[in-house]
Symmetry: D2
Subunit: 331 residues, 4 copies
C-alpha cells in the first residue's frame, strides 16, 4: 500500500483525497491544512486519514508521496521539503506565481531523484489520450493547426482572481500545456490579446475576462486559443486538430441526453458546468498514474518541467498582451 499525504482540503484537494482513498493500492495517511475546518474533519473521517501538520508528514518515513493541492504560495516550499525528504510529489499548478522561483524550484527537483508529476488533468482525459495516440502513431498525419476553446461558465470569486496570478496563469495554462503536449514540440512565438469586457470587478483587480492566444511552434505549426471567464453556454472545453489526414475534435460534454423539439427548434442540454465533473474520470486516472509513478517509476504524462514550460508560455502571453508585441521564446 502506498501511503499518501494530501496538502490542502479545498475543492481540488478534496477530489484527490477521495480518489486516493478509493484507490485499492493507496492509503490516505494524512490530511494537512493550516485552516482546520468541519469539512476537513469530515473528509478525514471518510478517507480514514489523520489530520496532521506539515512537519509530521515529512518526519514520517512511511509516507511515500505527497499531493500538493494547497494554496499556490505554499507549493515551492513544499516541493523543496519533499525533495529533501525524498518523497514523491504530485503538485497542482502553478509551482509559484514568481517565475524565477518556479525555475529554481524545478531545477532543484530535477537534481534530486524524487519522482514528480504536475496536475494537468486534461492530459488524462480518455478522449484527449485517444486523440494524442492518433497523432503519435501517425494515423492522423501531420498536425497543421490546433484550435482550443476553454471557457468557464462564470468567473471565480474576486478574492480567488486576486491570488490567481491572472487569467493566463490560472486558466490558459491548461491550454498552453495541452498545446505543447499535442504538438510534441516546443513553442517558438506567443501572441496574446486580452480584455476585461463584461466583469468590471475583474478589471479593477487588474485581470482580464477574455483572451485569445496564438502560438507558433518551432517547426511552423499554429495554435489558436480562445479563453473566457464566462460563456453564455457554460463550461466549454473543446479542441480541434487539423492534420494532413484527419480533423480530430473533442466537443463539450452535455449534462443530459434529453432533447426537446418544438416550433422553436431542437434544444439539447448545456455542458456539464463544473470542471470537477467534466474531468472526474481524469482526476481518478491522474491519481492512478501518481501511484504507479511511486510504485514502479512509470513516468506520468506530466513531469515537473511541463509545469515550468507551460508557465513560461503564460508569462510570455502576459508580456505579449502588455507590450502589444509577439514574444519570441529563447532556449
Amino acid at each position: 500500500m502506498i501511503n499518501l499525504a494530501i496538502f490542502g482540503t479545498g475543492r481540488i484537494g478534496t477530489v484527490h483525497a477521495l480518489n486516493a482513498a478509493a484507490n485499492p493500492e493507496a492509503n490516505v495517511k494524512y490530511l494537512v491544512d493550516p485552516v482546520r475546518s468541519h469539512h476537513m474533519t469530515e473528509l478525514a473521517k471518510k478517507t480514514a486519514a489523520l489530520e496532521a501538520d506539515v512537519d509530521t508528514v515529512f518526519a514520517d518515513e512511511d509516507v511515500h508521496g505527497i499531493v500538493i493541492a494547497s494554496s499556490t504560495d505554499s507549493h515551492a516550499d513544499l516541493l523543496m521539503r519533499a525533495a529533501r525528504a525524498g518523497k514523491a510529489v504530485f503538485c497542482e499548478k502553478p509551482i509559484s506565481l514568481d517565475f524565477a522561483t518556479t525555475i529554481s524550484t524545478v531545477e532543484s527537483l530535477e537534481q534530486s531523484d524524487i519522482r514528480c508529476m504536475m496536475g494537468f488533468q486534461r492530459r488524462y482525459d480518455p478522449d484527449f489520450r485517444t486523440l494524442k495516440e492518433r497523432l503519435s502513431n501517425g494515423t492522423a498525419g501531420h498536425i497543421e493547426q490546433i484550435l482550443m476553446i476553454s471557457r468557464d461558465p462564470f468567473p471565480p470569486p474576486i478574492g480567488y482572481i486576486k491570488r490567481s496570478g491572472g487569467m493566463f496563469l490560472d486558466q490558459s495554462i491548461h491550454d498552453l500545456d495541452m498545446a505543447r503536449y499535442l504538438l510534441g514540440e516546443e513553442i517558438k512565438t506567443v501572441y496574446a490579446v486580452g480584455n476585461c469586457l463584461e466583469n468590471a470587478a475583474i478589471g479593477d483587480a487588474g485581470d482580464i475576462d477574455t483572451a485569445m492566444i496564438t502560438l507558433t511552434s518551432i517547426s511552423g505549426r499554429f495554435v489558436q486559443i480562445s479563453n473566457s471567464r464566462r460563456s453564455a453556454f457554460g463550461l466549454e472545453q473543446r479542441v480541434e486538430v487539423l492534420c494532413s489526414k484527419e480533423v480530430l475534435s473533442i466537443g463539450n460534454r452535455g449534462h443530459s441526453l434529453l432533447t426537446i423539439a418544438d416550433h422553436q427548434g431542437l434544444t439539447s442540454s448545456q455542458p456539464e458546468n463544473h470542471f470537477i465533473d467534466r474531468f472526474a474520470w481524469s482526476y481518478r486516472a491522474e491519481m492512478q498514474a501518481f501511484i504507479e509513478l511511486i510504485e514502479t517509476g512509470t513516468p506520468a504524462l506530466t513531469n515537473i518541467r511541463d509545469g515550468l514550460e507551460a508557465q513560461r508560455l503564460a508569462v510570455a502571453a502576459l508580456e505579449s498582451m502588455h507590450t502589444g508585441n509577439i514574444v519570441e521564446l529563447e532556449r
Copy 2:
C-alpha cells in the same frame, strides 16, 4: 426533345411543369386543368406551354408523355386514355380511391405496352438511394428491422382530407411503398392503429390524425411506421434500418445551420417545413427518370404496379384499424 403534357396545375403539377421546363431534354407542350386560373396562365408563360384541353393532348401525336397531377378522381381515366393513345405516363398516387378500379386499371396498363411510372418521389431522394444501394450490394448486411417516421407539421385543409381517401392512402402510402422498396420483398401482414387525438374536425370528417403501423415481410423482417398529421417539431421524415452489419439512418433536414447556445441549452433549427422543399431534388430526379424512361426505356424506380401494391397495404391498414385484427395479405 421530349414533348410533355402536364395534367393539373396545383401544387405538385406546378413542380412537375417547372422541372420539365428546366430540363434540357424536355419541352412542356401543354398544361391541362379544368379550372383555368391566373396561376395556370402564369405557369404556361414561364414554361412556354399552351393551355389545352384533354382531347387536344391525346390527339397530338407529338406528345410523348403525360404527367398526371390532377385530382385523384381523374387518374384512372387519364391512364386508360394514355394506354389507348400509346403515350408514356407519370402518375401521382393514388391511381384511384376505389381499389377495384386501381386493380383493373393497372392490369389494363400492364397489358398495353406504354411506359409508366408512379410518383413516389422519396425513392429518388439521393440519401434514400444511397441507403438502398448499401442494402442491395450487401454492405449493410441483412435487414432486421425498419423504423419509419413521417409526420406533417400541420394537417391539410379539411376539404382536402375529405377527398384524400384517408390518412393511410394519403400519407402512409409513401412509407408503405418505401417499406416494400427497402425490404426488396413483399409484405405478409399489416397491423395498424389510428386515432383522432388533436384535431376534432378531422375526426368529424371520418379520418384520423395519428397512426402506427406494423408490417411483417414474407421472410420475417419487421417494419414500424409512425405517422402523424401534426408534429410539434414540424415536418419529420426519418428512417432507420437495423441491419446485421450496420444501422442506417436518414434524419430530418434542418432549414438552417445556425445554432444558438445559452444557459437554456443548444438550439438548432426546425426541419424544412414543406415536403415540396424537402424533396425538391427528388422531384427533379423523378422528372429526369421519366424523360429517360420515354427516351431509352430505362425502367424508373417505380412502376405502375408499385402504386397498386402500396395501395393494397394502405387498404389493409384501414381494414386492420377498423377490425382490430391483423390483416394477412393473400397473393
Copy 3:
C-alpha cells in the same frame, strides 16, 4: 444507519452491494449467495459485509431491508420470507417466471405492510426523470405516440437465455414498464412480432433475437417498441415521445466525445456498450430511493405491482407473438 442484506453477488448484486456500501446512510451487513466464490469474498471485504446464509439474514432483527438480486427462481420465496419477517425489499425483475406465482406473491406482499420496490432502474435515470416531469406538469402537452428502442450490443450467453423467461420477459419488460410509466395509464392491447434472425442458437433455445411490440393505451395513445439482442451499433437505449406541444427524445450515450473527420465523413463514437455503465447513475439513485423508502416511507418510483403489470404485458406479448393475434388485456 440502515442495515441491508444483499442476495446474489453476480453482476447486478455486485452493483447494488457497492452502491449500498458507498451510501453514507447505509451499511451492507450481509452478502448471501448459495455459491461462495472468490469474487464474493472480495466483495464482502470491500463492503465490510459478512458472508451469510438466508436464515441468518431473516433471523437478524437489525436487518432493515433486503436486496433480491439472486437467480430468478429464488425471488418469490425470498419475497414471501421478507413479508413474514417484516423486512423492506428491493427486488430485481421478474418476480417469477411463472405469472400465476407472480400474481399470488404480489397479492401477499400487498396484504403485508412491508415496503417494497422493483428494480426498474431506467425510471431513475436523470434524463428519463426530466422527461417524465415535462409530461406530468403539462409542459409537453398530451402524449400522442411513444417510440422506444432498446437493443443490446450482443446476445447474452445461451445458458442465461434458457433461464431468462425469453426476450420479452428479460429485455422488453423494461420498455413495457417505461411505457406504463410515461403514459401514466394502463395498456389496453398488445401486439408483438418476433423472430430469430441472426443467432440460430437462440432459436434452438426456443427464444427470439428480434422483436417489435405495439401497445395501445386505454385512452387511445400508441407505443412502438423496437428490441434486438444485437445491434451493429452497440447498446441502443432511446426513447421519443411525440406530444402535442413538444417532441421529447433521449438518445444513446456515446462512450467518447472525440470525433474523427476525413474524406469518409465525420465519425463519432459508439454508445457506452454495457447497461451497467449506461445506468450507473440510475443504480445509485435507485439504492438511495430504497434507503429513503425504508427510512421515511417515501414511495419509490416503482412498487411491487409495477413488477406484476410489466410482466402481464410481457406475457401478453408472448401470447400475441405465438397466436398472431392482438391480445386485449382484461382487468
Copy 4:
C-alpha cells in the same frame, strides 16, 4: 426589366449569368469574354444573351448594370468605364491586386454617383443574415470573440494561385470582410501567421497553404481566423460568435443526411465540397440585391468600400506574416 451585361464566363461568371437569367426582373443582354469558348456560346444560348465585346456594352444605353466576374486584372478598368458610362456595377473581389489602384478606383467610384456592390456572397447566406440580425437587434448581447474557420477541400491549380494575389487576398478576404460585418466596427490590429506545410508547389509559387489570423477591433473585441487550402474533411465554412448572452454558431453543411452506424462509430457525411454549391442560395440573393439596387437604390449588404477595407486587412495580414509584427491600421 433590368438589362445586364456579364463580364467573364468562367465559374463565377456562369453562376451570375444563370441567376440573372432566372430572375424574373432581369435580362442578360450581353456576355463578354475575351476568350470565346464553346461554353460561352452554350451559356449565351441558355441565357438568351448576345456575345459582345466591351465597347458594345458601354455604348448600349439600355444596359443598366454590369457584373464584373472577369479576370482580376480587368476589374479596375471596367469599374472606371462603368463610372464614366453611369452604369451600376456588381464587382467580384478583389478590385485590384495593387492596393494603390484599389484605393484610387474606389475613390473615383465614390465620387461618381453610380450604384456599386462587391461580391462577398457570404453576407447573403440566410444563416449569416439571421446571425447578423441577432447581433444587431441586441438579442445575443455584446460580441466578445469571433472564431472563423474557412478551409478548402483541396488547393486551386498552381496557375490560379500565381494570379490570385496570395492566400490572404484570395481566401482570407472573405473572413476579413465577415469580421468587419459581424463586428459592426473597424479593425485596429492584424496579426497573421502562415506557412506552406503540405503543398510544396504552392510554396514554390511564393504562397502559403495554412494561415491563422488574429484581429482586434477598435472597441477591444477579438477575432481568430483559421484558414487552409486543404482540409482532410473537405470544405469547412464555420463561424462562432461568443456574445454576452448567446453563443451563435454556423456549422458546415453536410452533403447528405444519411448516417451509418456500426462498431466503428456513427458516421455522417462530409460537407458539400464546392463553395458554388454551399453558397448557391447566397449567389441568387446577391443577384436579387443587385437588381434591387439598380431598380430602387436599396443599398446592398456590401458596397465598394467594403472591398477596399477587406483588402486593407488582407494587405496588413501579408505584412504581418512577412515582418513577424502586429500591424496597426491607421485611418
